[in-house]
Amino acid sequence: MKLSINGSQHGVDVDPRTPLLYVLRGELKLNAAKFGCGLGQCGACTVLIDGEPVFSCVTPVALLAGKQITTLEGLGTPERPAPIQRAFIEAQAAQCGYCIPGIMMRAHALLEKNPHASAADIRAFLEPHLCRCGTHMRILRAIHRAQAEMMSANAGGSG
């Protein structure tokens, strides 16, 4: 079947019941989405489907024909990071870093949809995500930083 991932079509030959996470990591060798629980409880596997954050560990690829899948790799690269990535790196918002890509995807989705999200909105929106190292303060700081950058970019007319 064909999957559209980060703007490119990929043909994959997998059982359609296979959750997207294992196709991303196995067939496509993408690293950002992580296995944290496989149960939809922790958010480490979060990717975007047509702009909506979903748990890729419980999303069979059978659901995804014709939909746009976005992973962290699709937002930016080390050479050209997206605002959310730049913000997290500048804020050094990671300890072990395992949970961060999923959180970044969800935050990115929120800021795209609601650029003026309040601090309370952001916290509430991140509730499905766990961070065991306790990096929460930096994560929130980084998201605010990204928000400011995205808003000023839009205000500058380049949005």
Binding site: G26, L30, Q41, E73, P78, H136, R138
Partner: protein, 749 residues
């Protein structure tokens, strides 16, 4: 090089041109890591070499310079997400006097790096950082001497810049052209020409962590990201309870499932290997359903762990005994504190990749100790150690001994079942939660007496706990090894001696108390699997001591901060306390609002490592019992700062992790099985509970020894929380977790 032109390296390192000092030669030996190391001890040198140079004295074990000038630094420690890679590179760059990005660092690899035991106990900076700092300084000294000899100039007139030694006449000798095969193959000297902290360009800078960009852009960074050619996927089927035996498994249908390559059974060790990951998962589910087990485990009553602990046979360890007769007219206080079993709960369940080829076994693992894990696995496999190589690759935060070592053992067994193919073993969430060794349940009883001057006159402390380390160790420490057809026996647990300690870590109060006694009732019986959880006994002991200090302060009618200062002579301890209190505004407002309270906690981790004080403000909703941290301020003294942002990151994390342990967490089990097997049954902190504000103040101590900081915040934060809840509600909670249910039961109606 002709013999005449070879410099006398020994002479160089013995002190010609040496300056400044090597601080770690100060008498007291830092006790070694949790388990015996595998390295052969070096020839005795006195006084001892700094840090891990004691056990690995050759400079080129730590630093290699290639002919093209490339600099590689080796450490036996591992990056756990605590930022150690970056910090060690900063140290090396500074002392070698090169730019930061010239350093390549290789971490924990039994084929390449020194044996520094475990990355644990907050020893990385103290052991590895100190070793690298001194080694790098001495390497630079040797390079300068070599260049001086070639230039025919006194070494004191040479200077280093941009990875080269420059002569007064501007002649330039690149480091690469200076090294010969043997230049750095020399044992370290005791004294190092360390750089003046006032001139640091790389150390004590907030250099961004080198490992973060890859982690935040999807580049390979974790052991979970390894995909060597030909790799296959495995899943283990673990028993339903401790010690269960596999009576039978009807695996015919599983063998025929799509992608399945092998079902492996050795006694009660059961696993399946498949081509693709989801195929392995489906096969695991089917195999688990087809397996029949005989369960025999008997677990204690989780509702009365305190009584259970005191009922167990104990080895009593006298930790401290300087008790004297106490004067009349004293006020006596006693209290008893407890905690349940606590899980590491790593976000990424354990994982390892192993390959068995031509009689050699290579394992990529996120174990904290590649050498000990290798030794145990080699014994389990019946292989000589030098045929087994363990290479550290990062995992998710482990916070101690989690499932990593065992996943490596699983992978080793399965790699042998599929020679030539790399086999990847991934634990499930449920397996990580149910099978990781927990931080042990603990009970602490404290008695103290106050004299009529409001000072503590006597102090009596008893602690009950299992061991805080079942790390490898012999093969029997490994989970899989105990379930093989010819099983290895679990080794009898041993207490970790002080000054490091296990259950007694941090049990000696740092306060000035004329009469004190501490007894550790070490309990060898372990019905629930336990081992090292971050801070070991240091979390619970500090929680208890610092809660009790508040209770004593209240009995003395004293402010909690003033009461602590009254009993502290250590100037650095006093400074972290006064810094945290001032920045928090402790003196300003006694109580912010109804339902709100503030609390303070302080400790010096192990009475040896970093000092940390935490002040916090908590809001308690009487009707729901919900306690929420609104604000926290901490001060930390880690000695010479290498990267203050790294330290702050660790302390922030410590406060939030401790908040979760203190308010939420307890492993649950019934008479037979662990029942907290996922995040729904073992909830931890989520974003809704994150404080509004947090400030960390890092005190810099130029030139002072590094003090490990990765575990310094948990104990003080827990006490600060409990003290704040007591301040808010008027009730003292001594049994963790301080759940909403228990707060509501105490104060609600």
């Amino acid at each position: 090089m002709s013999a005449a032109s070879v410099i006398s390296r020994r002479a160089v390192l013995a002190g010609s041109g040496a300056l400044i000092l090597s601080f770690s030669s100060a008498g007291r030996l830092l006790a070694q890591n949790d388990a015996p190391s595998q390295a052969a001890p070096p020839p005795a040198a006195s006084p001892p070499l700094p840090g891990s140079l004691k056990k690995t004295p050759y400079l080129d074990s730590w630093i290699r310079i290639d002919a093209d000038g490339a600099i590689t630094v080796f450490t036996g420690k591992a990056e756990l997400g605590q930022g150690i890679k970056t910090a060690l590179m900063q140290i090396a760059a500074e002392q070698l006097d090169v730019a930061f990005d010239r350093i390549k660092l290789i971490t924990a690899d039994t084929a390449l790096t020194p044996n520094e035991g475990y990355t644990a106990g907050s020893h990385s900076m103290q052991d590895s950082g100190t070793a690298i700092m001194n080694a790098a300084a001495q390497v630079r000294q040797l390079l300068v001497a070599e260049a001086a000899m070639r230039a025919g100039m006194p070494p004191a007139q040479m200077k280093t810049q941009d990875a080269a030694v420059i002569a007064p006449d501007d002649r330039r000798f690149g480091y690469g052209e200076l090294v010969s095969a043997q230049l750095l193959h020399v044992t370290a000297g005791v004294i190092s020409p360390l750089k003046d902290p006032g001139r640091f360009k790389v150390m004590n800078r907030r250099i961004p962590r080198v490992d973060i960009p890859a982690k935040l852009t999807g580049n390979a960074a974790f052991v979970q990201d390894l995909r060597p050619d030909g790799m296959v996927h495995a899943r283990v089927v673990r028993p339903p309870s401790y010690g269960a035996q596999l009576v039978g498994v009807d695996d015919g249908a599983v063998r025929k499932m799509p992608g399945v390559l092998q079902v492996v059974r050795d006694g009660s060790f059961l696993a399946v290997i498949a081509q693709r990951e989801f195929e392995a998962i489906e096969a695991m589910r089917a195999l688990a359903a087809a397996a029949r087990w005989n369960e025999t485990a008997k677990l204690p009553n989780s509702a009365s762990l305190g009584a259970f602990l005191t009922s167990l046979p104990a080895q009593d360890i006298a930790v401290l005994d300087r008790q004297q007769a106490v004067a009349h007219g004293t006020k006596a206080l006693s209290a008893s504190y407890s905690r349940p079993y606590l899980a590491h709960g790593s976000i990424g369940p354990s994982c390892a990749v192993a390959q068995f080829e031509n009689g050699t076994l290579t394992i990529w693992t996120h174990t904290q100790g590649v050498y000990p894990d290798r030794a145990a696995i080699a014994e389990m496999m019946g292989m000589p150690s030098d045929k087994v190589r363990c290479i550290h690759r990062e995992g998710a935060g482990c916070y101690g001994h989690n499932g990593a070592d065992d996943a490596a053992a699983d992978a080793a067994l399965l790699a042998r079942a599929m020679p030539g193919r790399p086999v990847r073993v991934q634990w499930t969430r449920e397996q990580e939660h149910a099978w990781e060794p927990y931080g042990p349940a603990m009970l602490i009883k404290l008695n103290a007496a106050l004299d009529d001057g409001g000072r503590i006159a006597d102090w009596d402390n008893e602690i009950w706990s299992n061991t805080h380390s079942t790390r490898p160790g012999p093969a029997g420490s490994l989970l899989a090894a105990r379930y093989l057809d010819k099983p290895f026996q679990e080794p009898p647990p041993k207490p970790i001696p002080m000054p490091e300690g296990g259950g007694d870590r941090n049990s000696i109060p740092i306060y000035t108390i004329p009469s004190a006694k501490v007894v550790y009732h070490f309990l060898p019986t372990m019905p629930v699997r336990v081992s090292a959880l971050r801070a070991l006994g240091g979390f619970m002991n500090v929680f208890a001591i610092e809660s009790f200090m508040d209770e004593l302060a209240a009995a003395a009618g004293a402010d909690p901060v003033e009461f602590r200062l009254k009993h502290l002579d250590d100037a650095r301890a006093r400074e972290v306390i006064t810094t945290a209190a001032e920045r928090f505004g402790w003196a300003n407002k006694p109580r912010a609002a109804p339902g709100s309270g503030r609390g303070f906690g302080f400790a010096r981790y192990k009475n040896l490592a970093a000092y940390c004080a935490v002040a916090c403000e908590i809001e308690v909703d009487r009707d729901s019992g919900r306690a929420r941290m609104r604000r926290a301020v901490a001060a930390v003294d880690s000695g010479q700062v290498v990267n203050s942002d790294g330290i702050a990151n660790q302390i922030e994390g410590a406060i939030l992790q401790s908040l979760s342990w203190t308010l939420y967490e307890s492993v649950t089990f019934n008479e037979r099985r662990i029942t907290s097997v996922d995040w729904s049954s073992y909830p931890i902190l989520r974003f809704s509970a994150v404080p509004d504000e947090m400030e960390i103040h890092v005190i810099d101590r130029p030139g002072m020894p590094f003090l490990g900081s990765g575990e310094a915040g948990q104990g003080p934060a827990a006490a600060a929380v409990a003290n704040a809840v007591a301040n808010a509600t008027g009730h003292r909670f001594r049994d963790l977790p301080i759940s909403a249910a228990s707060i509501k039961a105490a104060i609600g109606v």
